[in-house]
């Protein structure tokens, strides 16, 4: 297990932690949400919580695409693959996500043709190689991943590959942040903005959060120093009564985003009027659907989709954890019925889910390690 003192530039990390301690007013509580699941993983992995003053609380946000996908969509995707002519292709992240009758991996064990692909273009290639079959690609992800799906659909159309379709489950991050801010039981002071989503959308879309919601936001990288520097930016803004968008991750994130990626997304997708998020309910204009020019490659157009809606197992409190109302360990199933090996809820499936991160780095640590070292 590695902690921040074993990371690069420990002296700089120490200075940044000192700066955080100077900036944090001991008379108040700070609730900072890291939107991205990659940040959640890094925060637990590097034990960052333990180097922060106790009045700074990090709230784990909705930025894990596997975690926010409602179980009904997994059931819908699997129902298409009941047709023996269909090959179900998805990223490895999807394979252990539980559906009502088991995960894609369990369906594979029962004989369903389910393949792991590492790129949507590989799913398209699979279709080209199997002209007598139909390849359905189960697409998930935020704006980081959606442009790759869009380019793949443009290619399918250009090359006239007709035995290929996409079951589109791409979601967009800004409406989810808006939904969190609108939720009455939430009280967030500032946001650590997602790193890789922002390479695509840039920093401009966050400006309304700063302007109309008066919340500071710092788009940050994933290294311990990045996250800590992001927190320094947020604390300075809060101290000075400011609320603006800052870009800590300039080395990767251009302010304007990736125009080519935004172009292909605009060509292929349009916003859905609303979409269900696990634990958060229906959020308007929060997901992408394939537009009519690409309807021939839209699985929702080509197949009958049952439109399954499944409520999460009652005992699992994924929704409360996802909104930051409960800590992972406060869920009744945590580490008993729900573990990374046998996940009940999606937050336990992905390494970016807050329950899996908490389980792997806090729960296991509690029995093996008691001493966290802070860089001296």
């Amino acid at each position: 297990m590695k902690y921040v003192d074993e990371f690069r530039e420990p002296a700089l990390i120490t200075r940044t932690v000192e700066e955080i301690k100077r900036l944090a007013d001991t008379q108040r509580q700070y609730r900072i949400m890291e939107v991205c699941g990659g940040h959640t993983h890094a925060i637990y992995r590097f034990g960052l919580k333990d180097v922060l003053p106790s009045n700074i609380e990090l709230i784990h946000g909705p930025g894990c695409p596997v975690c926010v996908l409602p179980m009904g969509r997994i059931d819908d995707g699997l129902s298409m693959a009941e047709d023996p002519s269909v090959i179900f292709a998805a990223f490895g992240d999807m394979m252990r996500v539980p559906g009502t009758h088991g995960s894609p991996l369990e369906h594979k064990a029962r004989g369903m043709d389910i393949r792991i692909v590492y790129s949507p273009t590989d799913a398209l290639k699979l279709a080209a190689k199997n002209p007598d079959r139909h390849v359905m690609f189960f697409a998930i992800g935020f704006e980081t991943t959606a442009p790759s799906t869009a380019l793949t659909l443009m290619r399918a159309k250009a090359e006239g590959i007709r035995n290929f379709s996409v079951f589109c489950n791409h979601v967009t991050i800004i409406p989810a942040i808006r939904a969190i801010l609108d939720s009455p039981d939430m009280r967030i002071d500032a946001f650590i903005g997602p790193g890789h989503v922002s390479t695509v959308i840039g920093c401009r879309p966050y400006e309304w959060i700063a302007r109309s919601e008066r919340k500071p936001i710092a788009v940050s990288g994933f290294e311990p120093l990045d996250i800590l520097q992001g927190i320094v930016m947020l604390l300075r803004q809060l101290r000075d009564g400011e609320s603006k968008v800052e870009n800590q991750y300039k080395r990767v994130v251009p302010w304007e985003g990736n125009r080519a990626a935004l172009r292909v997304m605009a060509e292929v997708f349009q916003l859905r009027p609303y979409f269900e998020w696990r634990g958060m309910g229906f959020i308007s204009q929060s997901a992408l659907r394939i537009n009519d020019q690409f309807a021939a490659w839209d699985a929702e157009h080509r197949f009958h989709i049952p439109g399954v809606r499944v409520t999460d197992p009652k005992a699992a409190q994924c929704g409360e954890v996802l909104k930051g109302v409960l800590k992972p360990a406060q869920c009744k199933l945590f580490a008993t019925e729900c573990t990374p090996e046998r996940p009940v809820g999606a937050l336990m499936v992905s390494s970016e889910g807050s329950c899996a991160a908490y389980f792997n780095y806090e729960h296991r640590k509690a029995s093996t390690l008691t001493n966290i070292s802070v860089p001296a």
Partner: protein, 97 residues
């Protein structure tokens, strides 16, 4: 899910669409440059790769930091499995160049 893998561009191909051969810690794979079409990299440049697409150009120093980062997050094996799997659509193709 959104973590990106750094690779060094070895060779560019300008077929009907731009692609590149990249080297990720010794494993070479063809990736798509469609998302960098406004600002194509040159051989020797580093890019961040996500699901088989180059999503941004980065400096060599940042690329090496990102590799170290993946190792420390315990995601290097998953990242390398992903890189090895790119372009492989059948189980029997695994491990072939």
């Amino acid at each position: 899910m959104c973590l990106a893998i750094p690779g060094k561009v070895v060779e560019l191909f300008h077929d009907e669409r731009p692609t590149a051969l990249v080297d990720v810690v010794g494993v070479k794979r063809r990736i798509d440059l469609g998302l960098l079409q406004d600002d194509l990299p040159e051989p020797g440049d580093w890019v961040l790769i996500h699901v088989g697409f180059a999503m941004s150009r980065i400096s060599e120093g940042d690329a090496l930091d990102q590799l170290e980062m993946l190792t420390m997050l315990g995601e290097q094996d998953a990242a390398m499995a992903e890189v090895r799997g790119l372009g492989m659509t059948e189980p029997d193709e695994r491990g072939s160049p």
